[in-house]
């Protein structure tokens, strides 16, 4: 049994120590917001927040997360911060195919959590571990900048 906190709830998983967090989230907990884009730690589509840090869940072994706190897009989407970011993304139509977007949203959250007033360069660096093949990134970068302004005090 591996115990951890998932989207604010204490849960336990029957999975093996060496299973990937991504697979467990998707298959066992049926949380499919984290997407599998590569399973090699390269694309960021599987991003989740683990103890406050953005991680590629495909590269996290279940054995390492005992007592940790995991937030997926499903949990994050219930927050006020998500609302602000979502509105900012919507205002510039930053969502195209959407496959990278749950990961991008969690990356956006981590950028703002670390620095509520990021520069464009900070934002670009912050999302550079998350690949997006559709948007050319401009809209996403702009959205994070807008959310920083609109959400003053929230981060």
């Amino acid at each position: 049994m591996i115990n951890f906190i998932l989207n604010g709830e204490q849960v336990s998983s029957n999975s093996n120590q060496n299973e990937r967090l991504l697979d467990v989230l998707r298959d066992e907990f049926r949380l499919t917001g984290a997407k599998c884009g590569c399973k090699e730690g390269e694309c960021g589509a599987c991003s989740v927040i683990l103890d406050g840090k953005l991680v590629n869940s495909c590269m996290v072994a279940m054995g390492s997360i005992e007592d940790s706190t995991v937030t997926t897009i499903e949990g994050y989407s219930k927050t006020r911060r998500f609302q602000i970011l979502s509105e900012a993304y919507a205002a510039v139509s930053a969502v195209q195919c959407g496959f990278c977007i749950p990961g991008m949203m969690l990356a956006s959250e981590c950028i703002l959590a670390e620095n509520p007033n990021p520069s464009e360069e900070d934002i670009r660096r912050g999302i550079s571990g998350n690949l997006c093949r559709c948007t050319g990134y401009n809209a996403i970068v702009e959205a994070v900048g807008t959310a920083a302004k609109e959400g003053k005090g929230l981060w």
Binding site: G37, C38, E42, C43, V95, R124, R125, A139
Partner: protein, 703 residues
Amino acid sequence: MIGNSVKKKDHDAKISGQASYVDDIVMEGMLYGKMLRSTKARARIKNIVLPEISDDYFIIDKDDVTGENKIHVVLEDMPVFPEDTVEYIGDPILMVVGPDRKEIARILSEIVVDYEELEPVFDVRKSEISFFHHNYNKGDVDCAFEEADRIITETFETGQQEQAYLETNGLIAYPQDGRIVVRGSMQCPYYVIGAVSKALGEEREDIRIIQDVTGGAFGGKEDYPSILACQVAVAAKKAERPVKYVFDRREDMEFTSKRHPSVCTYKASVKDGKVTGLDIHVIYNAGAYTTLTDVVLQRGLIGACGVYNIGNLRVTGDGMKTNTVPNGAMRGFGAPQTFFAIEMMMNHIAKSLCTDPLTFKEKHLVKQGDETSTRGKFHFQVPLPEMIERADQLSDFRKKHALYKSQTGRFRKGIGISMVYHGCGFTGNGERDIIKSVAKLRKNSDDTVELLISITDMGQGAKTTFTKIAADTLGIPLDRVTFNNPDTDRVPDSGPTVASRSIMVVGELIKRASEKLKAQWKPGEEQVIEEHYVHPDFMIPFDIKTFRGDAYPTYSWAVNVIEVEVDTLTAVTKVLGAWGVYDVGTPLDLNIVHGQLQGGFLQSIGYASMEQIGYNEKGVVRNHSFSDYIIPTAMDVPNLVTDLVEVPYAAGPYGAKGAGELPNVAPAPAYIDALENALQNRIQHIPYTQEDIMTYLQEVENG
């Protein structure tokens, strides 16, 4: 509503992680499939030894194909599963299907295939099999060459680009009430229905295709789902259970179709400082099977002289067989290869005449009323001159280009420009003779309206733009109009979601249907309106045999400028700025249009600078993951600007033309032009990578 931007229809579902992509779907009793793929590039299969398998596992191969063992794309040369020879590394010999993926992997690892190896061909120049040959003429090329002051010949090569959509290819097939259903990630549900009914030997009525939320495609889900659908449908029919096949990244990068590599030889005659004739030979590397090569090649040939009015043309082209993965559609669809060649050719001719390339190009630009390469006509305004001015204003191109010519020192800057068109819609008479698109509107009794079309939203914003057209025309709020993912049981065949035809062609049908519905609107009643494609009557009929006539009703235009800085010590190149000026007619939604333009722009910078599938000498792909097939990140092109001029097209909805493919055509030649400006060299291939720059710098150093 038209023009401005609205919140996208699928925003909430996608951003919250609720949208269901094929890999997110689990069905009762679902099995998984995995291919056993050829490890030889060309071989006869002498024997296959299978291990024991338990009852709920299945081996699916050619003997399970209940219809014809042929995949219907354009020709039908590709088998669902190979008969007795394999033609590339990755050719799917059979599929293992079962409930547990670890057990499937074990079974696969124990299968022994006995091959008799045959000689493969990897170098397209050595290939002796031309799948498709086309040629056409305009004017008198031989005469132009006889009268020329000089003749310049050059050969250009372009690489094999991977679409690299973030969601890999994936489908689920299952039996239902005596029929077979296939659902998943795809661009063209009616292509899939055609292929599956052939492979299963079932009537089209007994096949149902449903698109699920699709995580990007860029052409990579145009033909490929037809192939995979046949394979999973055969499996589901045999297993009598749902079978899901989702590619992992490596499998997708290695074994699904890509952009055709090309070798284009251009011979130009020049007289009195102008290009009078072009003799062009284009070779596209088709890979092992034909798939979409014929159509891709045609677009490449039609665009072979770019945006220039050249009186005398001879264009020949071949789609050649090699023993690599079959190449298919990728955004730009055959145009990026030849537009790269013509843009570089024009630059190089100008340089050899010691004139300024931009001024030289401007002297040759087509204008409204000019003949096209295929003796059609540019019926509408060609806004290139004002677009060039706009691009110059934004980027300060002319000044910088002159300034950067004579640099020394470690860091050198360069700026480049390119200009292209994209023929809007399907090539030739495809719309009129083959596609014959149909669109429907259903008004429900609660006065909401549903769009019934086979167009798919794969991220490009179709759901939003199409509903805007209907809502605006009907004069009802956007949330009263719905557009669900197509299900062939419910929607007519409006044709494929390709070639920048969706909005211009099917959007126009929706517009007309909406006008009709508005005129006949009966509150509280159910109504259905159907519209059929009508070919614009101004078009000069296109004849595919002679390549004569209007290949496209209209054109969208782009001028791109890219500025770079090269570190001549490390060969690292930074993109300092990238500007694109576009005419896509009336933009129906500004955000969506800019999103398309920016995304396409970045993909093309990748094409020019880093993206290339490589093979070893045995034909094994060397880079099949995001760690070695590198695509641009948010850090790569910080300064990317897109801008619009508008030449509305009367036969498109609200004046809209094609937008999606255009941005993928122009950036590569602009990028290379910029590198040449910085390095003062002559470049004839893309991608031109950091290694290429390093090699060049070393050559210069060694004299």
